[in-house]
Symmetry: C2
Subunit: 344 residues, 2 copies
């Protein structure tokens, strides 16, 4: 399998994050990607392909230009205003408020383009994320050109980032950017399978009204788990996109059996859609030992099976790393999934 | 003038607040109301009337029942979950996200019902605010029964609180609750004049589609000042309420002359509306010495004139204290306004 490693991911390194109001050590840290890289190398998995650079107009097929402009310059602007360290938003545009006007105030724009207070905008958040998007696009290009599969080893993750907002550690939605690239370069229908513990609210938001990108997600019930305000089973898409969004929320503590039962449903519906390409938002925070999640997948028993079931769909597949916060085990869980896929 | 003092305001006393990401001493503190009380007593202003208790169904004419239920129990729930000190929200339901479903998760409900991260939900936030709403209702009842005017000396302020959200130090919208009471007990048309430095986004949101309550506000340009996402001049109301919302934003540093020119416009339009009663959201953070605001009104020259101009409308008037963070001067600025009113 081709592997595209984000060589610039370490540019984004948070000092700390806010978790439910407390200042804590960042869960989304550089070591995550480093452990995955080491685990791949330990078993000599994959052929490495260099990150290619893509122009901004590929990104703005998914993200709004004003959002991209903002996050590109945000941390420098923060410093120029006397800010120190990482930047955090403090006020949000909720229901009934406006998002059509972009305020002049920096704190206001931070809030306009985000939905939580726990995602640190570091000095290198944009550079690291933009390189990650290039990795996702490099992988998408390989798949568009006929590769059976590729794996994008990147962080920060992407699936919580929407068309014009960051949050949940995510700034650019790698999976959505890749799916759009596949659509623009040959695939008539693209499916996105999101197996991260958390709902991929950003990805859903981006494709919610479209019938050419099918989004299926297995995740923790949003009533109890982040991102809380999206990911319920009754969200089926809107307009032309009605029927092209599938949420399969599960209760905290759901067994591997229930998880795979949901995966069977997601795969069956994805098959009906007949995608020309598949993007997998591969979060492994479904792992039994994850520090902030509550599913129970096991390294040896379950992740290989996940890979095998995806392979059985026989669709060109692009895996993109999302969450997974049990840092020491994240590598093994990713390798287990990818080797499971390759075994079929 | 009748004065209703919130004897329980000190139940809400924040340890600190977050201001643009920094943990700072709370601006909205108990001393604010204490200084106003002392300044009134120093000049022997007003006849004190005791706070009367009103049932919740008066409050839910303005706030949603689920919001009221939430904030009533929120801090106790926070403690029961192991929380310490004041509670702060951390994740919000922005555009495209859902607010129809109330999540089970406490942090999620904190975010669902708020729009900033800087408003501390203290152990006594609800009790202090609920007593404040009773004070506002006591004042409204006096005006409904024929008083020419009354002053509600309360904190925390209210005008940023919407039908189902807190923020900007506000939990219950005293001005909106009082205006609705006046509508329900005799007044056909009620005007709300908001002279606080910050736009009264909560009050606007509550009455935006109604033609029986006219809302006029003079405030700092939302593009540069809190609450940022509402308060622009083109917000004129919607549906039946079209034409019944008037925003007069001014640039930071606006002179007293420009401020009074805007007040002339607000008063002229309010006269056309022919209100049976007037509620004044009396923020004195328009003061030249305010630590977080940027207008230039002066204690002796400007606040008496404000009071006189309101009196000249000859409408029964209920003053309700909103912002004002120059603690030592807040009392003099309020007294200047109210004595100006009484002089006419």
């Amino acid at each position: 399998m081709k592997v595209i490693h984000n060589d610039l991911h370490h540019l984004h390194a948070a000092e700390f994050e806010f978790f439910r109001g407390d200042k804590v050590e960042a869960f989304e840290k550089s070591a995550r990607a480093d452990f995955v890289l080491r685990a791949l190398q330990d078993v000599k998995f994959g052929e490495y392909v260099e990150r290619e650079s893509f122009p901004d107009d590929v990104i703005t097929r998914v993200h709004s230009a004003r959002y991209l402009n903002f996050i590109r310059g945000a941390h420098a602007e923060y410093l120029s205003l006397g800010g120190k360290g990482d930047a955090f938003p403090s006020v949000w545009s909720i229901r009934g408020m406006r998002s059509d006007v972009e305020p002049k105030n920096f704190a206001a724009r931070m809030g306009l383009y985000s939905f939580d207070s726990g995602t640190p905008l570091t000095p290198g958040a944009y550079a690291g994320s933009r390189a990650g998007a290039d990795c996702a696009l490099t992988g998408a290009k390989l798949v568009a050109q006929g590769e059976r599969s590729a794996f994008v080893l990147t962080r920060p993750p992407g699936h919580h980032a929407g068309s014009d907002f960051f949050g949940g550690y995510c700034f650019l939605n790698n999976a959505a950017i890749a799916a759009q690239y596949l659509r623009d370069y040959g695939a008539s229908r693209v499916a996105i399978l999101d197996v991260d513990y958390h709902h991929g609210n950003g990805t859903q938001e981006i494709f919610y009204a479209r019938d050419d990108v099918f989004f299926a997600s297995i995740h923790a019930d949003p009533s109890t788990d982040y991102p809380f305000f999206l990911g319920y089973a009754d969200e089926e898409g809107e307009g032309a996109g009605r029927g092209f969004n599938l949420n399969l929320p599960l209760a905290q503590g759901a067994s591997p059996e229930s998880w795979f039962a949901a995966l069977e449903v997601a795969i069956a519906k994805t098959r009906v859609f007949k995608p020309d390409a598949l993007v997998v938002s591969l979060g492994v925070d479904t792992y039994e030992g994850d520090p902030i999640s509550h599913f129970k997948l096991r390294t040896r028993e379950d992740y290989p099976r996940l890979g095998e079931m995806i392979a059985a769909m026989k669709v060109p597949t692009l895996f993109i790393l999302e969450g997974g916060y049990a840092v020491k085990e994240i590598g093994d869980n990713v390798v287990s999934t990818l080797t499971g896929f390759e075994s079929k």
